[in-house]
Symmetry: C2
Subunit: 332 residues, 2 copies
DNA sequence: GAAAATCCAGAACACGTTTTCCTTGATGAA
DNA sequence: TTCATCAAGGAAAACGTGTTCTGGATTTTC
């Protein structure tokens, strides 16, 4: 045959070119065993000349590890999962680990399918994340698992979650430090745990400075606009509105402006999420709480790496958010 | 030792339990070779009893394939890459392929690192995507590659891209079918190829119905608002504005409303991207062009699967977008 | 100069599966 | 009866690496 099959070179090819055995070549390239420096160098040159890249499948097989972790997300289209994913990927790639993406689309059947696939790939660990902070059923696999954002219902599992309590409190503290004394709260559906937590924390930390009841609605600008009408009717003297999301806060700002109320001179507004497309496009730009989800993803990945290395940290970890101050409370 | 090391069962364990050899067990589970039905059944039961999951690393090694593809994205935080990712993942998981995620953060060094890692993992193929439609340097690997969204500069490479020409034209056609005769165009930076293409196509298909020059600016609501002021000064009689993005279109709508102009009665507005958080939250909701990026991702993955199977389809493929009509052109 | 210590490299094996080849026994036909 | 055919299943090789063991060669020491 004139056309030879082109094969990516293996360690045997490198060894042959360097005139040594395969095992010697392996030792040379991995800097182990006792070899003459001259031999090492010769093997190295041969490897470079052939463009040798070690086949990690071989390594995986013999080491018993796959250097891969799975990421199971119930909806990666959500804007919460994505920064978590990126943070995790960032932390993992530093450890030479690859991340395989599994989007279950909230379908238990797909989740089972992916779990089987990941187990069959002998993944070193699994990260489970979702779009809601409500606890979820743990998954049952013989592999280290860390939950991000959506904790496991089992308190012995490792879960990394956002501290919405602290986040909401920091917004209130900020407003009070600016002298605001009549604070209202507008947020999403009461059925959402995050709405409940943020509302409770807001009321708790505002104390007597809290006016009326938390207004539960939906996570939308429309609701934010509508809530302003309700609030101004019932609480005409309020001087600050904390919102459960940036979308709501943006709607609030829009409506206040339409009514001729100045933000923040008349009424200060805070959001939640630091979703840049909302927080920065709002007029005025929003003071808001950044959940630092990318950091959460990194943290999750590092906890998983620890668990893989044999030192698990059982139990939940809460990460505080960070308050980002902008014109909606500070003015220009 | 009282504590035995718990090992996930291998095919040898299954074989031992069923009283056959490993090779027979493999044949039984894979439905190949000639075996008595009774034997097959016995092996199957043994496998089930032990909870046997085949180690895909072994299969990968012996089959020469890894059943894994890499996805290289220059920024997966961008809202373009994500639907592409999801579509690709969807199409691949149907073929039992896993997708490993590599976010280069637009850093050539990281890209090199990831490429080496993917090659070393003997990935079956690679998808390359980016956030801009500008062509990019091809990557040099001995593996099938398909480019999505950002095509390769090499026309022989397989690239799947959006047909912005057709998309912009469909918006104009829609406006003209509604009787609009004085159409302006507001878009992003002239340095962006997608802005250029959309502008050229808009002018071309509008013909004499196009007024003035395309207004280049930035991809922001603020620019949309500002552009309205410019347009109304120079083209007081225009009856439609097509925008290069939903963000711009939302800004346009906001400013028109502030000036007391009715959308769409006085001036119809179209966006681009069908970015729901903009298109639906806009007042009124936007008629816009959906690039159908998830479908693009699926298409990309299927082309890659073909290439892996040995039937590559060289050259670029353009996918038409889909016009989504809403109140910003139709009214209520 | 011989024994011991040291150094170096190759052989063999492990990892888990698939696949190819081979053996055994049975059946049927000549 | 003998040979060819075929079903059934086992043995071994292959995939590509890392690790351990072993033995030969060289140097050191007395």
């Amino acid at each position: 045959m004139a056309s030879r099959i082109i094969r990516t070179p293996g360690i045997k090819d490198v060894a042959a070119l360097a005139g040594v055995s395969a095992s010697t070549a392996s030792k040379a390239l991995n800097d182990v065993g006792q070899l003459r420096a001259e031999t090492r160098e010769r093997v190295r040159r041969a490897a470079e000349q052939l463009g040798f890249t070690p086949d990690s499948r071989g390594r995986a097989l013999s080491s018993g590890r796959s250097f891969t972790v799975g990421l199971i997300t119930t909806d990666s289209s959500g804007r919460f999962s994505i920064p978590i994913m990126l943070g995790a990927e960032d932390a993992l790639s530093a450890g030479e680990m690859a991340l395989v993406l599994c989007d279950t689309r909230d379908d238990p059947l797909r989740e089972q399918h992916y779990l089987k696939s990941l187990v069959s790939r002998r993944v070193d660990g699994i990260i489970v994340t979702g779009r809601r902070v409500e606890p979820r059923e743990p998954i049952d696999v013989p592999i280290p698992v860390v939950y991000a954002f959506s904790p496991s219902t089992d308190p012995e599992d490792t879960s990394v979650l956002v501290d919405d309590h602290a986040g909401a409190a920091s917004a209130v503290r900020h407003l009070r430090s600016l002298g605001r004394e009549r604070i209202a709260h507008v947020t999403g559906p009461e059925s959402h745990l995050s709405a409940q937590i943020r509302a409770a924390s807001t009321m708790g930390s505002a104390g007597t400075a809290f006016v009326g009841d938390p207004l539960y609605g939906e996570w939308s600008e429309r609701w934010g606009r509508h809530a302003v009408d309700v609030l101004l009717r019932t609480q005409p003297k309020l001087d600050a509105i904390t919102c459960g999301s940036d979308q709501i806060a943006r709607g609030v700002c829009d409506r206040l402006r339409e009514l001729g109320r100045s933000v923040p001179d008349d009424i200060a507004v805070t959001g939640y999420d630091n979703w840049s497309v909302m927080a920065l496009a709002s007029r005025p730009p929003l003071t808001t709480v950044d959940m630092e989800l990318e950091e959460l993803g990194r943290r999750t990945a590092n906890l998983l790496l620890d668990a893989i290395a044999g030192s698990p940290h059982p139990g939940p970890v809460e990460l505080p958010g960070r308050l980002i101050t902008r014109e909606s409370t500070l003015g220009t």
